[in-house]
Amino acid sequence: MNFQGVRAIYTFEMARFFRTLLQSFLSPVISTSLYFVVFGTALASRIETVDGIEYAAFIVPGLIMLTVMTQSIANASFGIYFPKFIGTVYELFSAPVNFLEIVVGYVGAAATKSLIIGLIILATAFLFVDLDIQHPVAMLCFLVLTCLSFSLLGFIIGIWAGNFEQLNLVPLLVVTPLVFLGGSFYSISMLPQIWQTVSLFNPVVYLISGFRWAFFGQADVSIGLSLGAIGLFTLGCMTFIWWIFKTGWRIRS
């Protein structure tokens, strides 16, 4: 195992993050605050509670998930796409590192960044609402797992993308709708029966539901199912990445 190599990639990627500190931290914090203002304050006067939870508090897990998922994908996809775009990727392929080390370096850095952002948003949330996290350890585990799995997905998108348009295509057309329709701002039990059934095909539902369980002790689907879903999703991404490196798909001629 080339630990120096992993560390080099990780450090280099984190440096990119801290170089663009304002953009990295400030923009998710500002947009989340806007969500709080719009949904938490404006809508809360109408909705008041969901499943017995104050609406402003209810949306906190969904908001964190929304940002963490989009940030993980954005960071990880850009992290590997940019070297491809500017050509520095040659160095990775000529270096004594294997695919696992490359993935650990890039995905690890991307997941760390989104974890930091997730925690900052959580801290911001405390400014707006009273929160009492019932299962803090489970909450943290869910957060870390989500950061990891979505960074893996981002890595795949970054490898696949042939240009900047494609880089934004998957997040825009697939991930954002899935996240918005995954119950970030509502409980799926609020939907008509047919849409509840449709929602169960949305993997993000399980993540948000599980995360919400960690906060409030109640959820749309069982916690076991949530864990199973995120585990399966992570495994799927890892298998796909393993296949990418084995076949050299989109990276090596």
């Binding site: 990639i9 450090t11 280099f12 440096a15 040659y90 990775l92 392929f93 090596r252 001629s253």
Partner: protein, 309 residues
């Protein structure tokens, strides 16, 4: 003897069906500078990319320092530094961080002293903390070299290091390469400038159409280049070379209408005067006299043409 880099029967076919390399055999000796000459699309970059692990081997075997580049890729790659043809650098990072990254990536522990020494030898020390984007083209190319040297490689590949570089910088680059050679680094560079190969290489390889046409000691090649020819057209056809003229290195044309005399321009006596006198004495009348000099360029163009037909 197996060289520090040994390429055996290497074939490379791209997915589109293009045979980029057609059975390359090449032994590179430790400490030498080998220049690979060839026109665009000859397979120079493919060869280098394959040795460095960027491009997959279709068939054949490559070892570096005795290590198979596929089976022992970690050990093999750790010995190699690659300077790519295009300037590819993370624009917003600083020079020192870029080379720290390269060193780490190749599995080497931190060594700031060594990295500073590398920067110094490339006249980049004062740009250590500058962002790459602020550097000039020549400096960026030197940063690429610094990155390739950051992990103390034994073999350095330079893919067209002076393409699009002005004359002064080119001379600088040659000096740098010579300095590295003195430090014991084996250097393989590709170029399509013949004068570049002449100026710095120990051996010259000519590659075209995915095949190595020749690998020869530069001096031997230069010696061939130093030869000059005189072609003497005769008024009347000769059946054979007269006895009197046997001592000269002469060739008779098939139709007997011309004699070609090869001589060394660097020798003290070229023998031209003697030959002309003896020709007259032998009663051969001359219609015309032409001289031709073969250059590395001629040899190169000739080889490439021959292989292309």
């Amino acid at each position: 003897m197996t060289g520090i880099v040994s390429v055996q029967n290497l074939k490379k076919t791209y997915p589109g069906g293009l045979d980029a390399l057609k059975g390359i055999n090449l032994e590179i000796q430790e400490g030498e500078i080998l220049a690979l000459l060839g026109p665009n699309g000859a397979g120079k970059t493919t060869l280098i990319s394959t040795i460095c692990g960027i491009s997959k081997i279709t068939e054949g075997k490559i070892t570096v320092g005795g290590m198979d580049i596929v089976a022992d890729y970690r050990k093999a790659r750790a010995m190699i530094g690659l300077v790519p043809q295009e300037i590819t650098l993370e624009p917003f990072e600083t020079v020192i961080n870029s080379i720290r990254f390269s060193r780490g990536l190749f599995g080497r522990p931190k060594n700031e002293e060594y990295l500073e020494q590398v920067l110094k030898s490339l006249s980049l020390l004062d740009k250590k903390d500058a962002r790459v984007i602020t550097l000039s083209g020549g400096m960026k190319r030197r940063v690429l070299i610094a990155k390739a040297l950051s992990h103390e490689p034994r073999v350095l590949f330079l893919d067209e290091p002076t393409a699009g570089v002005d004359v002064e910088l080119r001379k600088d680059m040659w000096n740098t390469v010579n300095k590295l050679k003195k430090q014991g680094v084996t250097i393989i560079l590709t170029t399509h400038y013949i004068e570049e190969a002449e100026a710095i290489a120990d051996r010259i390889g000519v590659i075209n159409g995915g095949e190595i046409l020749l690998v020869e000691d530069k001096d031997a090649l230069m010696a061939r280049m130093g030869k000059k020819k005189i072609r003497i057209d005769l008024v009347e056809a000769a059946n054979n070379i007269p006895k009197k003229l046997k001592s000269y290195d002469l060739d008779l044309a098939e139709d007997g209408m011309a004699l070609t005399y090869t001589y060394d321009t660097k020798s003290e006596r070229t023998g031209i005067t003697g030959l002309l006198n003896d020709l007259q004495a032998a009663g051969m009348q001359m219609r015309d006299v032409q001289t031709q000099q073969s250059s590395l360029e001629d040899i190169f163009v000739g080889l490439v043409k021959e292989s292309s037909t």
